[in-house]
Structures are given as structure tokens and as C-alpha cells.
């Protein structure tokens, strides 16, 4: 037994890669039902904010993700847009990180909006990419004071004056909520939008960044947050509409179990190898 365990210590890592890939594919292929975890306060905070939105409220979505972080941001955007459409809340979409982001946002939003009977320009608009590399704070300050000056046309080139929805959006004070979904949402949204103008802010971020933002949930500076696919899965549970987040977080549970198992087996292998070496000495 010890000799067999010691062999694990020298296992070719390529077997581990293969085992991980096979293990992650199992839930994707078979859709094994998993027990649902509790809904965290951060997720419920965002859900409750949107539930409390008045019918004439408008939400600004900063959808600043592309292929690099679609593995988690896509599900985070999808579930929130579904909720907005279900409640018939109008929304404006902008992107501030890369020029590719508006297209990715459109691919997620268009089918959901179409299914909900939303009319583009009246119920939602994609205002495209606003270059913010030199300073997100400058862009946010500009959007907060005069949206039309910062972005004169939408992603299709339609002038802002010809979009009925944009007649109701001049400054940050016309918005009910700002939801920034990206790899690592800028804290400038908290400083300027919430801190200076008092408009609530919520984030959707990659799991890796979530620990940095919990302090802002505790202090009330953030109204809610979806942390990775798990956050999206919890939101989908609240919507009673399991979708991408649920599916991907189910596979992630298998992956996490694999990591724990590999750590245990690896340590057992090390222990066995050391034991054999001591015996041989």
C-alpha cells in the first residue's frame, strides 16, 4: 500500500490534467443535480434592489468584459438582464474596458430582450465603448454630469437624440442603479457614483476579485455583488430560472472536489515516499 501511494508522489501531472478535464465534463454532459447553497447577503442585496426598482426606474449596466473573462461575467450579466426584463425595467449598457465588450454584451442581451418584447432604443440601448483607459474616474465624472456629452451615439451609430430612452437619461441622477460587471470593477464607481451622487452601485466580478469587495458590502457602499458563477447561480435560484451560472458552478463544484482530492492524495504520496526513504536509510 505504502509503495503504491509513494508512486502517486511521482505521478505525471498530465494524468491530473486529463482527470480534471474528464471530471469537469461529467456535470456538463449529464447535468447531475446538486444541492443548492444558501443565498448570500451580497446576492440578495442586488436582487432586492432590482425588485424594489420603480417601473420608471432606469438601470445603467457597465458591461466591460470580453473573451478574457466571459467564463464568469457572462452568467453574471445574463441573470441580471433576465431579472430586469422580467420586471420590465429599462436599462442602458456601456462598456469601459476594451472595444470588444459592446459586442459581447449585445450577444447576451439581445435574445433575452427580444424574448421579453423589449424594443431597442425605447426599452434598452447599447451605448458602446467609452474609452476609459486613461482614467475611469474622468469617464464616470463625465457620465455622471452629462451622459449625452460623453457619448453622442449608440453602438450602431444612431445619434443619442434619436433614442427615446436616452431622453430620460441626462445624468447619474436619472439612474436608479449602476451595475458594473467586469473582471475587476473599478472602485471609482463606489467613490463617485455612490459617494458623490448617492446613486446605488452593485458589482459582478470574477471570483478571484470578490474578497476585495466584501468590505464595501459590509459598509453599505455596495448594494450587492455577484461573485463569479456561484453568485450568478444564487441569483438564478432567486429568479427560479436555472441557467448558465447554475450549470457552470455545478461543474466548478466537481473541480473543487478534484482539487481537494488531489491535495489529499498528493500529501499521502509524499508521506509514503518519505516513509519508504526512511526505511531504506
Amino acid at each position: 500500500m505504502t509503495r503504491w501511494l509513494a508512486k502517486l508522489h511521482n505521478l505525471n501531472p498530465r494524468w491530473l490534467y486529463l482527470a480534471t478535464a474528464v471530471l469537469l465534463l461529467v456535470p456538463l454532459v449529464t447535468m447531475i443535480p446538486m444541492p443548492r447553497s444558501d443565498i448570500s447577503g451580497a446576492v440578495r442585496g442586488l436582487y432586492d434592489m432590482i425588485e424594489a426598482c420603480p417601473p420608471d426606474g432606469i438601470v445603467l449596466i457597465d458591461s466591460s468584459w470580453d473573451a478574457g473573462s466571459q467564463s464568469e461575467n457572462k452568467a453574471e450579466l445574463k441573470c441580471v438582464v433576465r431579472h430586469l426584463c422580467r420586471r420590465k425595467i429599462r436599462f442602458v449598457v456601456i462598456s469601459t474596458v476594451t472595444p470588444f465588450c459592446p459586442e459581447f454584451a449585445g450577444q447576451v442581451i439581445e435574445p433575452i430582450a427580444k424574448e421579453a418584447g423589449y424594443v431597442y432604443g425605447r426599452d434598452w440601448t447599447n451605448m458602446g465603448y467609452i474609452q476609459a483607459n486613461t482614467g475611469l474616474a474622468v469617464v464616470i465624472e463625465g457620465l455622471a454630469r452629462d451622459f449625452h456629452k460623453m457619448r453622442q451615439a449608440d453602438v450602431h451609430g444612431t445619434p443619442v437624440d434619436q433614442l427615446p430612452l436616452m431622453k430620460d437619461v441626462r445624468s447619474i441622477r436619472d439612474l436608479y442603479l449602476v451595475y458594473s460587471v467586469t473582471y475587476s470593477p473599478g472602485t471609482e464607481w463606489i467613490s463617485f457614483v455612490k459617494g458623490q451622487f448617492g446613486t446605488p452601485v452593485a458589482f459582478g466580478c470574477m471570483s478571484i476579485m470578490a474578497p476585495s469587495y466584501y468590505a464595501y458590502i459590509d459598509s453599505g457602499q455596495l448594494s450587492g455583488m455577484l461573485a463569479g458563477n456561484r453568485g450568478a447561480a444564487e441569483y438564478e435560484a432567486l429568479l427560479q430560472h436555472p441557467d448558465l451560472g447554475t450549470k457552470l458552478s455545478m461543474a466548478a463544484s466537481f473541480g473543487n472536489a478534484a482539487v481537494i482530492l488531489a491535495a489529499l492524495v498528493g500529501n499521502l504520496g509524499l508521506w509514503a515516499a518519505l516513509r519508504m526513504r526512511r526505511r531504506a536509510a
Partner: protein, 224 residues
Amino acid sequence: MTHPLSIWAGAIVTLAVFSYLARDNPFYRLVQQAALGASVGIGLVIAWQQILAPMWWTPIRTALDGTGDARGAWWLLALVPGALWYFQFSKKYFWLSTLVSGLFVGVAAGLAFKGQILLIMPQIGASLKPLNPFAGPEGFTWTALAQCLSNLVFLVGMFTTLLYFFFSIKTDNRWFATPIRVGRIMIMISLGAMFGSTVMTRMSYLIERLQFLYEIWLKPLLPS
């Protein structure tokens, strides 16, 4: 069922990247270089189409040919500070680039200062948490007790972590040695949580690609 070319390209590129796990190979390196080149190329085109053309070039062009607002021609002046950046390549005239970079640093510093005040001040207020379970509007409840204990852990964590970074006292001081050690443990727990989140994120990258390979590329090709 056949796929559009983009799906095939996505699948082949993904498999080429995964092939690195077996060993470094020319397919992986080809895809890596192609991805970099495509990203820069597409980024340039989109930057022109979505930013420079509508926000800078079109106002100038329409102003000059008389079809647009004449004030659009003022955008030509943006070329001056823009061109100053390129003096970073000159040893003799480097100082010209500092004019514009100084302006940018000044604006960024001002906004950062304002942003940090707006960000951190509410954090200081939120750090003052109640520790008396009897002080709530409903008197003593088990929920209030649990909240106060949670607040106690938070306050111990905050003060001991701050103490760990307080370099004006000796770490072997008999009054501070234990709190500093507690602070170090708190930092280790936080870093552990961050590392766990890192694993989850990396796993998400892999799952998303596997989902693409199976559901979008392979599944429609399989006989139903």
C-alpha cells in the same frame, strides 16, 4: 450538421492551446502569436471605428467641408498634445513630453485623492461596530449576540492586522508580540481565501472552454 467557420476556428485554437499541457509545441506557439496579432489588429480597427472616427475625425471633416458644426475644426488642436507624447523617443526634446504627461498625472492625482477620500471615509465609519448584545432595539437576542461576536472577530482582525504593519514598535515587545502574531494569522487566513478564489476563477476558465468544446462544437456533430 456543419458549423460556421468561427466555431471550427474557436475549437481548433482552444485545442491548440490545451496541447501545451502535453508539451510545448509549434501549434501552441503559432496560436499564441496569432491571438496577440489579431487582438492588436482588431483593437486598432475598433478604436478607429468607435472612438477616433466618430469623436475626432468626423467632426473635423464635416467642419472643414461645411456639412457640420464649424466648431468641430477645433478638434485639430488635439493633435498638439497628442504629438507631444512622441517626444519621449527624443533625448533632446524629452522635456516636451513631460508637459503633457505632467498634465495627465496632475489630473489623475487630483481625482485619485478625491476618490480615495470618498471611498475610505465610509469604511472608517463602518468599522465602528457595536459589541453590546443588549443595546439593540429588541434587547438581548441570540441573533444580536451572534452579530456582536462577529463584530468582535472583525475588530480583533482589524486592530491586530494594523498592528502587524505598525513598524515603529519591536515585534518582540511583550505587550505586542501576541497581537502581532494574531495579525499575521489573520493576514494568512485572508490570503488563503484569496488563493481559494483564484483556484475557482482558473477553474471557471477551464470549464467555460470545455463547455464550448462539448456543447457548441462537438455535441451538434454527434449523431442524435
